[in-house]
Each structure stands twice: as C-alpha cells, then as structure tokens.
C-alpha cells in the first residue's frame, strides 16, 4: 500500500525580479498514518514552503513547483484540479498556523469559524456546525464550550485561540495535520499544553502530524522521524532517536550544540552556529553549509554531497558522514562519551 503522503525530490522555486529563489531544492520524505514527522531548520530553510506546497498554497506566480512530485494516498496533488484541491484542504489535510493571535478572523464568532470547514466539506447547516464546534472546543479542553462558541476571538487568550485553531483543523477529521510552528508564539507553559493536546489527539484519531519547528525540544518530544533542512535541502533524515543520539551531519551537530543543556553543569556559553544562512538566489558552490562548517574541506566547496543512506533509514548529505572517525568527532558523541 502506498504511504499516506510521499514527497519525492520536490523543487519549489520563486521567480523574483532579483533572480530565482530556490526555496525548496530537492526534498523527499514519506509520512505514515499515526506518525509524526518533525521538520527542523533555521528560518528560510524551506520548511514552510514545503508544507505550503503540499497544500498547494504557494502563490503562483512567483512560486512554482519546478520538479518532483507530492502524492497523497498515491495521487499526485500537483495534478489535482482547483476543485479537488479545495476538497482536500481543510478536509483531508488541515493546517495549524504559527500566530494564533492573527489566524482567527476577528469579525466572526468562534463557533461560526470552527464550524466553517464543516459547512464547506460536510454540508452542515449553520446551526449544526456551531453545535459541532462546541463539541470540538470541549475536546480541545476549553471549559464551558457551549457558551464560548458565542465569543469573538478577541475574548480568547493566545493559548485558547491556538486550541480553537486546533479544533478547527480537526473539524473534518483530517488524515494529516500540518502544524507550522504551532507553539512559537505561545508561553512556555502553554506550549507544553498544546503539544500534549496534539499528542492526545493523534493517539485517538491516528492522524499523521507534520510538525514544522525550529525548536528541537518540540521535535524530541513529538517526532517519530526528523527531517533537518538547510538552504532548501534536506541535509539529514532519519528516526528521531537516531538523529538526536547519532547525528551525522555537521549542521545537525551545530543545531544540537546550540541548545542550552540542563544535564551538563558548566556555566559555559551557548555555541551558536557562526554566520548566516546563504542567500537562496546565489547558493555557494558545493555543499551549501560549507562556508559555515568548521569541518569543511576542499571537496565540500566544490562538490555538493547527495543525500545518502548511511545507516538503515538514516541518511545524511555530507561527504564524510560515512566516515566513522569523522562521526566520532561529533560534539554530541563526545558529550555522551564523557
């Protein structure tokens, strides 16, 4: 059987006045029911563009999927008609946005808004959809949902709004939930609640989650598989435990290094990755990460490394990932050995 979602060597380019922005430049992954994929990377690494491409929400022009394919239940979403796309959006694949303060329309009551996908996809009447919205609000942990459906968004707090957004995404029982940095705009305590809620929902509904974030803590909590992106490319892809405990790509090392640690009792500074991500219009020759990589050799600056499977199910795009001695230098490995 085909997996729920297959993204196959996806290239998404934006044709701007300044040149071609290669926002996504060869990304592949699969998603199975009930599993969670964590997509991590710095801002501008192509995470959101990948997600939006799956929903066919890239503004065209200037954006365009130039090659590759996205298959949902074996069907290419790139070949779907506008009507089929709309039937899929919000119904089979739903999305949660980053900023709950602006992702609810201020002029409609909460109930009416959460009910909108039901009216669109399930032919519910206004009354039925609001009743269903109340039930959904209760499911995402909002007290007195039957009264709160009559509220306007400005009467909800940030955490409550994100719960409302999740309720809206869940309304039609989607197969895939795409969450684009769902906790970035929230307080840390609320973040934990929202993540817990998502896990709870996943356990109950068997839906797949695609979690886009730059918070590695979130990925460690939630993800079964991790895709690390850099400058539009997948640089490391594998099971979460593997990527966390045996990271193969120096960029992944850098990401892990730049996390504050609680288990090491030194008052040392954080170790950020030096420099800025490259311009997506003029990518450096060879490996995109080479200008910032502490281990870069001549070959890195001349030849782009392909994403290659190093261990079963765990691949990396680095010339030296297969080199056991090189991997042993991984700061994380060194740390584990201490």
């Amino acid at each position: 059987m085909a997996p729920l979602l297959e993204v196959d060597d996806l290239h998404v380019h934006f044709f701007t006045r300044d040149g071609v922005v290669k926002a996504v430049d060869g990304v592949s992954f699969t998603l199975e029911p009930g599993r969670t994929l964590g997509m991590v990377g710095e801002s501008g690494s192509g995470k959101s563009v990948t997600a939006l491409s799956i929903m066919r929400l890239i503004p065209e022009p200037p954006g365009k999927v130039v090659s590759g394919d996205i298959r949902f239940k074996g069907r290419s979403v790139l070949q779907m008609s506008e009507k089929e796309q709309r039937d899929m959006r919000g119904n089979r694949i739903a999305m949660i946005f980053q900023d709950p303060m602006t992702s609810l329309n201020p002029v409609y009551r909460i109930g009416k808004q959460i009910g909108e996908p039901l009216r669109l996809h399930k032919n519910m009447t206004g009354k039925e959809s609001v009743a269903a919205a109340a039930e959904l609000l209760g499911r995402v942990g909002i007290p007195r949902p039957k009264e709160r459906v009559r509220d306007y968004p400005h009467e909800f707090s940030g955490g409550m709004r994100q719960r409302a957004m999740i309720a809206m995404a869940l309304a039609c029982g989607p197969d895939i939930l795409i969450a684009d940095e769902p906790t970035t705009a929230l307080d840390v305590t609320i973040q934990a609640q929202i993540l817990e809620l998502m896990q709870e929902i996943q356990a109950r509904t068997e839906s797949a989650i695609m979690m886009i974030t730059h918070d590695l803590g979130v990925v460690a909590d939630m993800a079964d598989n991790v895709l690390v992106m850099y400058a539009g490319k997948a640089v490391e892809y594998g099971p979460a435990d593997e990527v966390f405990y045996r990271p193969l790509h120096p960029y992944a090392w850098g990401l892990l290094e730049s996390l504050p640690r609680h288990d090491v009792d030194d008052k040392g500074k954080l170790c950020p990755i030096k420099g800025q991500p490259p311009s997506l219009i003029n990518l450096p020759s060879g490996c995109s990460f080479s200008p910032r990589c502490a281990y870069a050799q001549d070959i890195c600056r001349s030849q782009a490394p392909p994403l290659a499977e190093i261990d079963p199910g765990h691949s990396s795009a680095c010339h030296f990932s297969a080199d056991k001695q090189f991997i042993a230098q991984s700061p994380r490995c060194a740390m584990e050995g201490r």
Partner: protein
C-alpha cells in the same frame, strides 16, 4: 441579580457594539447624526404635510402672486417666499429630497464601482492592479467639476445623469482606499487559514477580506455623501442638474442671485441647508472614523 460575566469581560461584546459605544461618546458626531435623521424624516414625510401647511413648492398661484412675491419670513411662511410667491421652506424641504437622493444613489454607484475595482486591483494584483489604478489616476487628473459638466453635456441634463456623473467621478477614490485596505487585510494569517481550510476565492474575498476591509469605506462613503450633495448643488446651480421649476438647493441659490440684496432670505435658507447637511455628513464620517478606529490612507 448580577449578570453572568465571562472570564474576560462582558458577554456579547461585538465589534459593532464597541464602535457604537465609541460613537456615542463623540457628542459632535451624535449631533450630526441627529441632524441627518431629522432631515431624512422631514424630507421623507414631506408629501404628508408640507403642501398643506406651507404651500405647494412648484405650482405658482397666479391670483396671489403679486402680493405674495418676495415676502420676508413671517409666521405663515417661516423662511419667506420667493419671486413667484412660493414658500421657501416648502421648496427647501423638497430640495432636501433631491439632495438626499443624490447623496444615497450617487454614493451607492461610486461605492459599488469602487469596491469592485479596488478588490480586483488588490486581490489579483499585477496587470489588473496596474490597469485599474492607472485608470483611477487618469480620473484624478481631470478637474472634477469640469469633468462632471462635460459628462452631463454628453449624457444630457437631469437628475439621473447627475447620479451617474458623480458615481463615475467618485469611484477612483473609493477604489484607492479599498485597495489599500484589502492589501493590508490580505496579509493577515486568517486569510491563509481560510484558504488552507478549503475556502474558494470568492468566499475568501467576500466572507473573510471584505468585512475586515470595509470600515474605511463606510467612513469614506459617509463623507462622500456630503461631497455628492455639494456637487449636485453646483450642477443644479449651473442649470445642469435638477431642472427648474423643480426645487433643489443649488437651483434655488441660482434663482436667488438676482435678489441677493433685496431679499437675502432667498439665498440664506438653501445655503444654510447645504452647509448644515454637508457638515453633518462630514462630522458623522469623522466620528465613524474614530469609532471604527480606521486610519485613512491612500
């Protein structure tokens, strides 16, 4: 008994309710609104009482015209009478019907055209935007009243053509304000969320963008009613709008010119009617702007 109160403030607070409360705090706008309602009530109910109480606004009573001509204001004719012995108050009230009708119909035409043009320009962008907005710029470059006169010369005089002329001349400002407003609203995440939910383009434009982008248009349209009344008065003054002997404020002013020194009330009352009504619409628009919290741009 205390009313049930939700965790974060009173129940049933709506955006419209909030705006209304803010408008009520603005005394000047309330007075303006009161005046507008007063004028509307008087004008709409005119047929019921004005001819009986004040006299016919159009017909000239040939038997009494000599002694009734150019009488100063009195208890029987509170605003005086004109050269043909007709009651000025009666004519001002019937003139209000014309002015209000122009205000409503002409502004409705210009808002309709402006909304469609502005929405297209903002939502589709690119060529649509360039063509629509450059056309608007061309309209802005014409001298307004001259353009209106030319249009009326082409279409013929008369009140319907005044509606059309004002509508055609007014749409570019509405389009420009609405375009800016839509561009601003379009960037909100709830528009992306609506698309991600599977909403169609018309649904997104009409259900999600329009209601959030309409506030500046309400303000602008209210103020434009005043402008439309002024334009109609100017055109009727020049004899291109409402045709005499039908009463209109501009036409009355035109007739009054001859008697400016001998019978100044002929000019005073229609002039005051224009002034107060236009001012009321502008003040109400100002109050609405504060109440709806819109910053005028464009």
């Amino acid at each position: 008994m205390p009313l049930p109160i939700s965790e974060f403030g009173g129940k049933g607070r709506t955006l419209r309710g909030d705006a209304w409360r803010r408008l009520c705090k603005n005394k000047l706008a309330l007075v303006a609104l009161g005046w507008i309602i007063f004028v509307i009530v008087i004008a709409v109910s005119a047929d019921l009482w004005v001819p009986r109480v004040l006299g016919n606004p159009i017909e000239i009573d040939t038997t009494t015209v000599a002694q009734m001509s150019l009488n100063a204001p009195s208890s029987a004719h509170p605003f005086g009478t004109d050269f043909a012995g007709r009651d000025i108050a009666s004519r001002v009230i019937y003139g209000a019907r014309v002015s209000l009708m122009v205000g409503v119909v002409a502004v409705a035409i210009m808002v309709l055209l402006g909304l469609i043009a502005g929405a297209f320009a903002a939502y589709y962008g690119g060529w649509w935007d360039a063509i629509i907005m450059r056309t608007a710029d061309i309209f802005f470059a014409f001298p307004y009243i001259l353009f209106a006169i030319v249009l009326l010369a082409l279409l013929g005089n008369g009140i319907q053509n005044v509606f059309i002329a004002i509508g055609i001349l007014g749409w570019p400002s509405i389009a420009r304000v609405f375009r800016g407003s839509v561009l601003f609203v379009k960037e909100n995440e709830y528009v992306d969320a609506a698309r991600a939910m599977g909403a169609s383009t018309p649904r997104i434009v009409f259900r999600h963008i329009m209601p959030n982008a309409i506030a500046p248009i309400i303000v602008y349209a209210t103020m434009s009613v005043g402008g439309a009344i002024l334009t109609e008065a100017a055109l009727s003054f020049l004899g291109m709008g409402v045709q005499l002997p039908k009463p209109s404020w501009g036409g009355m002013l035109s007739e009054a010119q001859t008697y400016m020194t001998s019978a100044p009330w002929l000019m005073l009352y229609p002039g005051l009617a224009i002034l107060t009504t236009v001012l009321a619409f502008v003040l109400l628009g100002d109050g609405l702007r504060d109440a709806l919290d819109v910053k005028m741009k464009g």
